[in-house]
Amino acid sequence: MARSTFDYVTYIRVTPERLWQALTDASITQQYWFGMRSESRWAVGSSWQLSFPDGRACDTGEIVEAEPLRRLAIRWQNVVNPEFEAEGAGQCTMELETSGPAVKLTLTHSVDCERSKYIAAASGVWPKVLANLKSLLESGSVVLESY
């Protein structure tokens, strides 16, 4: 099947517990994700939403897999850009693996559509968000304040 995928790997000096918390606690996500809150009960089948600081939804979906400290898969649909929304829901998977004193974080975001404009846009955003996440966890402050 035609698919567009963005893959990214980073290594963060942190424990799997703290990284999992940073990915699933909306009060932490807003610190490195340019004010966005990633909100869910984080159980399989529960709803998920990435919200702007004013509460409006940017992306919505549901939790497909949640294995705390190890793996999270989210059915992920953009709801603010009609062109992106028309491409349909994609899936974002985050895998955490211990690697010595660090955690290897592997993020895979895909949409079942060739040359997806949404994945092209997400490919520009994820390196910023994950660079901020790594800096916040390792040094206590983010590297980019604004998007």
Partner: protein, 151 residues
């Protein structure tokens, strides 16, 4: 034309000058590049090599473009693995762009062939090396001491 490419982008809290120095000073590269020294006079046309602490040359090539502190292009050929060496010469481009109080670093590594095993190999290596570089510049110490091949 058939091509295999790996692109890795990160943002580092540093200046373009410090990042350029971190990429081109072998005493600095060995701190985050698992003991490897990236050595060259860093002028277009000059030779380049990546060597271990014991002096073994892992990769070699030449500088195609050198525009401090903005852009570096290296002709890059593996020297230690016959299968990867047989794929020929790759091109590695490093671009540094100021981004607020940070620098955006884009590494693009490509070779003119489909399904390159060399590019698969460097796709696993760059995230480790660049994660270490970012941690070293931002916190003073690296995140990974050893290159664990299984990861």
């Amino acid at each position: 034309m058939a091509r295999s490419t790996c692109v890795y982008v990160t943002y580092i809290r540093t200046t373009p000058e410090k990042l350029w120095s971190a990429l081109t000073d072998p005493k600095f590269t060995e701190q985050y590049w698992f003991g490897m020294r990236s050595e060259s006079p860093w002028k277009a046309g000059s030779p380049w090599k990546l060597v271990t602490g014991a002096g073994e040359v892992l990769d070699s090539g030449e500088i195609v473009e050198s525009d401090p502190p903005r852009r570096l292009v290296i002709r890059w050929q593996n020297q230690w693995n016959p299968e990867l060496k047989a794929e020929g010469v790759s091109l590695c481009t490093m671009e540094l762009e100021p981004h607020g109080t940070a620098v955006k670093l884009t590494v693009t590594h490509s070779i003119e062939r489909d399904g390159s095993k060399f590019i698969v190999s460097v796709s696993g290596g760059w995230p480790k090396v660049i994660s270490n570089l970012k941690s070293l510049l931002e916190t003073g110490s690296v995140v990974l001491q050893d290159y664990e091949r299984k990861h």
